[in-house]
Amino acid sequence: MITAYADLLLLFLVLLDLYIIGTGRLVACVRGAAAQGALLSLLPLTLGHHLDIHVGHTLLLFVGTLILKGLLIPYLLMRTIVHTHVRREVEPFVSLHASVLLGALLVALSFWLSQRLTLPRPPPSSLLVPAGLSTLFCGFLLLVSRKKAITQVVGYLMLENGIFVFAQFLTREMPIVVEMGILLDVLVGVFVMGIAINHINREFDHIDTAALTSLRD
Amino acid sequence: MMQSLVQNLVHLLVLLFFPLLLLGVINRVKSWAAGRKGPSLFQGYYDVLKLLQKGAVYSYTTTWIFRTGPLVTLAALFVSGLIVPLTSGSGPLHFAGDVLAFAYLLALGRFFTMAAALDTGSSFEGMGASREAGFSALAEPATFLSLAILCVPAHSASFATALAKLPWESWGPAHPTFLFAVVALGIVLLTENARIPVDDPNTHLELTMVHEVMILDHGGPDLAFILYGSALKLLLLTSLLVHLLLPIPSEGSAVGGLMFLGGCVGIAVVIGIIESTMARLRLRSVPQLLIGAAVIAAIGLGFLFYRGEP
C-alpha cells in the first residue's frame, strides 16, 4: 500500500513534466523542477522498505536529495534569473501548446514502451519506468526546443531527474558516497552553468543560446 | 676472301660515284617530259666539283654546329651506305640488327641538318626544319613496318640474312606482302628525299620549301657535301627498293651489279615520271599520305602473319 504513495508521487512527477513544458515563465519552470526534486527525494522513503534498504541510508538519501535537488539547485537557478533579468521563454522553437502536445505524446510513448519492457525482476512500482522515461524525454524536449539557456538547464535537470528515478532500482547497492557524489556533480554542474549563463548575459546582453553560432565550419 | 674484298671495293666505288648520276637521270627524265633538252646527266658531278673549289660564307649568328652539321650528316649517310647492300646481298658492314643502325644513322643525319638550319636563326630555315622533322617522324613507322616485312620471314634483323631468305618463289601476286612493302617504302623514299608529292626540289618560293629551305645558308664545300649527301640518301633508299623488286644474288657478281645499277636507274626514271606528272600535295595532307603508307605496310605485315609465314 506504500507503493500506492509511490505511484502517486510518480504520477505527480509526470504531471510536473507537462507543467514545466507548458509554462513559458522561467520562474515557473524552475519551481516545477524544484517540486520534482522534492518528489524524488520522497521516493526512496516510499520505496525504501519495499527494497529493504537500511533506514539510515534512506533518510540520508532523502535529506541529501531534498536539500540539493529541492532547495539548492532551484535557488541557484532563481539567482541566475534575477541576475539576468530574464522572465519568460519568448519564441521557443516549438510553440508552448505544440510542446505540451508533444510532451503528452512522449508520456504516452514512454507508457507504451514500459508496457513492452520486461525487467529482470518486478519493479517496486509499476509506474517507475514510465515516469522515469517520460521525465527523461520531456527533459530532452525542453533541451532541444527552448532557446533560453536557463530553460535548457532546467531541461538538463529533468533529464537527471528521470535518470534518478531509475536509480531507485539500485539504491541498495549504491554506496552513499557515490550517491552523494552524483548529486554533488549535478549541483556543481548547475552552479557552473549558472556562472556561465551570467557571463553570457554580460558578454552578449542576452542568454539566447540559439544565437551562439559564431563557432562553425 | 679476295672475292669479298673486291665486293667491298665495288660497293665503295658505287657509293662514291653512282649517286649523283641518279639525280642527273631524274632531271633528264623530267626535262624530257617537259619537252626540254635538259641538263647533262653529269650535271650533279659538275656542281659538286665547282662547289668544292669555292670559299665559304658564314652568318655571324652561327656556331660550330652550322659548320659541322653537313659533315655529320654526310658521315652518317656514308656509314649507313656501308651497311646497306648495294650490288651484292650485303654491305661491308653487316651484323644482326644492322637494319636498325641504318635507320637511326639516317635519323642522326637529319638531326644535324635541322640543327644546322636552326643555327642560322632565320625563320625560314626554322620553318623548313620543323616541316622536315614532322614529316620524317611520321615516316618512321612506315619505314620500320616495311623493314619488318623484309626481316620477319628471315627471323633476323640483318639485311644480309633477310635478303638472302626472301621467298622469291612465292613472290608476286601469290605474296602481295612485298608489294605493300614496296609501296610503303616508295612513299618513304619520296618523303625522305624531298620529292614530289611531298616537296618540290626546284621550287623557288622559300615559304613552300621543306628540304631546300634548310640549306639556304650553306655554301662552298659544305653545300657540295650536302648535295652529295642527298644523292647518297636517294641511292640508299632506292637500293632497298631494288633489292625488294629484283632477285639480286647475295654473293656479288657482275650480273648482280648490273641488275642493281639498272634497277636504280629504272627507279630514278619512275621518280622522274612521278615528278613530272603529279602535282605537289598540300602540306596539311602530307601526314595523311605518310600515315597511309604506315597503314599499307601494317596490312602487309598482318597478311604475313595471317599466312603464317614466320
Binding site: 525482476r121 538538463y156 537527471e160 535518470i163 531509475f166 554542474g189 556561465a196 553570457i200 563557432l215 | -
Partner: protein
C-alpha cells in the same frame, strides 16, 4: 595508500593555490605537484597497490596505463604553462588566478577516473572532469570562448547523463542473478555478466557509448570538441586532447570489459566500428582545407579517436594497436597543441591563412610541428605509423580487406588534409601573409602570396626553452616509439590488452 595520495595531492595543492594567489607561488606549486604526481605514478608502477574503500578504488593495468599518460602530459603542460602564464598573452584572461587550481582539480578528477572501479563513481569522476575543465576553456575573456564553454558544458553533461542511465541499466541487467541487483563494482559486474539480460546490457552499452562517446569526441557526437579545443589556451587543449578524451574512452572500455565478460561482445565491436568509421569520414571532411589550425588539430583528435575505436572494433591483435595508438596519439597531439600555441603566440591568430613562412620565423617550432604532423598523419618511421599498421594488418588478417582498405584510405586522406593546411603555414617566405580562398578547391588548397604584413612580425619573439622543451620531449618519445617499443611498455600494453580480450 598511494591511491589516496594520488587523489589528495592535487586536491590539496589546488586548495593551496586557491588560497594563496601569488602567481609565482601557484606556478611553483603546479610544477612541484606535477613532478610529485609523476613520482607517485612511477611508485604505483613499482609497488602494486591493493584496492581501497572496499574495492571502490583500485588500479588495474588499464587504469595504470591511462594514469601514466595523464601524468606525463600533465608534467609537460605544467612546464609549458609556467612560462605561458608569466608571459603576456594576446587576449585578456578572464581570471588568471583560477587557472592553476582548476588545472590541479582536473588532474585529481582524472586520477579518480583511472582509479575508480565503481561504475557510478567513475561516472561522477568523468562528469567532474567536465566541470573542472570548463573554467579552463573560458580562460580568455572572449565571446567565442564563452560560447565554446557553454556548448562544452551542456553537450557533455547531457551526454554523460545518458552514460549514467547506461550505468543503471547495467545494474538492472545484472539483477536477475541469485543475489539480486549486483553492486556496480567492475569485478562484480564482470562476474554476473554472463547471466545478464542481454537487451538491457546492450542498451546499457549503447547508452554508455553515446554518452561517454560524446565526451570522447566520436563523430557525430564530437560537435563540442573543435570549439572547445580551439578556444582553450593551448596547454589546456593539450591536456584535453591528450588526457581527457582518454578518460572518457576509459569509461567506454569499462563497459566493453563487462560485455567481454558476458561472452558476446560482437555487438559492441560492431558499434565501435560504425562510430569509428563515422569519425574517420567526418574528421577527414573537416580536416581538408580547415581554416583554423587549432580546430584542425581538434578534428585530428576526432580522427584518431575514430582510429582507436576502429582498432577496438576489429578486436584481436588490433586491440593492441588501439592501445598503442592511444599512447601515441596522446603524446603526439599534446605536443602538437603546445607547438600550435607557440605559433599562436607569434602570429596572434589561429587563422591558418594568417600564419606563413613559419620555417623562417620559428624554425624550431616549425620543424617540430612538421615532425608532429608527419607522425599524427601516420608517416613512418614514427609512432602512430606503427599502431596504425598493426590495426590495418590485423584487419587484413581477420579477413576484412575492404575495411582495411577503407581505413587506410581515410587515414591517408586525413593526413593529406592536415598537410594541406599545415604545410602552407610553415612554408613560404615569411615576408608576406597568404590568402586562403575559403571553400575554393578544398582538396588541393593552394595559397598564393598576396596580402598584407602580419601582426606576426611585431610579436615575433625568440622561442624560449620553456615553450620548446615539453613538446620536444613528447616528440622524442613519439619518434622512439616509431623505431623501438621498450619492453616495459610492451608488457604494460599486453597486460592492459589481457583485460580487453575476452
Amino acid at each position: 595508500m598511494l591511491l589516496f595520495a594520488l587523489l589528495l595531492l592535487p586536491v590539496l595543492a589546488s586548495l593551496l593555490t586557491w588560497i594563496v594567489r601569488r602567481q609565482r607561488f601557484q606556478l611553483s606549486v603546479l610544477l612541484g605537484g606535477a613532478l610529485l604526481h609523476a613520482g607517485l605514478t612511477v611508485a604505483v608502477y613499482l609497488v602494486p597497490e591493493p584496492s581501497a574503500l572496499g574495492g571502490l578504488l583500485a588500479l588495474d593495468p588499464l587504469g595504470r596505463l591511462f594514469l601514466a599518460l595523464i601524468s606525463v602530459i600533465f608534467v609537460a603542460i605544467s612546464i609549458y604553462s609556467a612560462k605561458y602564464l608569466t608571459d603576456g598573452t594576446h587576449d585578456p584572461p578572464s581570471a588568471p588566478h583560477r587557472y592553476v587550481p582548476c588545472l590541479l582539480i582536473l588532474l585529481a578528477t582524472m586520477d579518480l577516473v583511472t582509479l575508480s572501479q565503481h561504475m557510478a563513481l567513475m561516472w561522477a569522476a568523468i562528469e567532474a572532469t567536465t566541470l573542472a575543465s570548463a573554467p579552463l576553456i573560458y580562460f580568455y575573456r572572449r565571446k567565442a570562448a564563452l560560447e565554446a564553454t557553454w556548448k562544452y558544458l551542456l553537450l557533455c553533461s547531457v551526454g554523460i547523463a545518458l552514460a549514467l542511465l547506461g550505468t543503471f541499466f547495467l545494474g538492472i541487467a545484472g539483477a536477475n542473478g541469485p543475489e539480486g541487483t549486483p553492486r556496480l563494482i567492475l569485478s562484480t559486474l564482470c562476474q554476473v555478466a554472463p547471466g545478464m539480460v542481454r537487451p538491457w546490457m546492450k542498451a546499457a552499452f549503447v547508452l554508455a557509448l553515446v554518452g561517454y562517446g560524446t565526451k570522447m569526441g566520436l563523430a557525430p557526437l564530437h560537435t563540442w570538441l573543435p570549439d572547445a579545443h580551439s578556444q582553450a589556451p593551448s596547454p589546456v587543449s593539450a591536456l584535453l586532447s591528450g588526457g581527457l578524451l582518454n578518460c572518457a574512452l576509459l569509461g567506454i572500455l569499462r563497459f566493453y570489459q563487462i560485455c567481454l565478460a558476458s561472452g558476446d561482445a560482437q555487438f559492441a565491436r560492431e558499434l565501435f566500428l560504425v562510430l569509428g568509421f563515422a569519425s574517420l569520414v567526418i574528421a577527414a571532411a573537416f580536416l581538408i582545407g580547415q581554416r583554423d589550425y587549432k580546430r584542425l588539430l581538434a578534428y585530428s583528435s576526432v580522427e584518431n579517436m575514430g582510429i582507436i575505436s576502429v582498432g577496438l572494433g576489429l578486436g584481436g591483435g588490433a586491440t593492441f594497436g588501439a592501445l598503442l595508438h592511444i599512447v601515441n596519439h596522446s603524446l603526439c597531439k599534446a605536443a602538437l597543441f603546445l607547438l600550435a600555441g607557440n605559433l599562436l603566440r607569434n602570429y596572434g591568430s589561429t587563422e591558418a591563412s594568417a600564419v606563413h613562412g613559419g620555417l623562417r620565423q620559428q624554425p624550431r617550432t616549425s620543424v617540430m610541428l612538421l615532425v608532429g604532423m608527419l607522425a599524427i598523419g601516420g608517416a613512418p618511421p614514427l609512432g602512430p605509423f606503427v599502431s596504425e599498421l598493426v590495426i590495418f594488418m590485423s584487419a587484413v588478417h581477420r579477413g576484412h580487406p575492404w575495411l582495411a582498405i577503407l581505413f587506410l584510405g581515410l587515414v591517408a586522406i586525413a593526413f593529406l588534409g592536415l598537410a594541406s593546411v599545415i604545410l602552407p603555414m610553415l612554408q613560404g617566405s615569411g615576408e608576406r601573409r597568404s590568402h586562403a580562398h575559403p571553400g575554393h578547391d578544398l582538396l588541393l588548397a593552394s595559397s598564393s602570396d598576396d596580402g598584407r604584413h602580419g601582426l606576426g612580425h611585431i610579436l615575433a619573439r625568440h622561442e624560449s626553452g620553456w615553450y620548446l622543451i615539453p613538446p620536444f620531449g613528447l616528440l622524442v618519445a613519439v619518434v622512439v616509439l616509431g623505431l623501438y617499443l621498450p619492453p616495459p611498455l610492451t608488457a604494460a600494453l599486453n597486460r592492459a590488452m589481457a583485460l580487453l580480450s575476452g
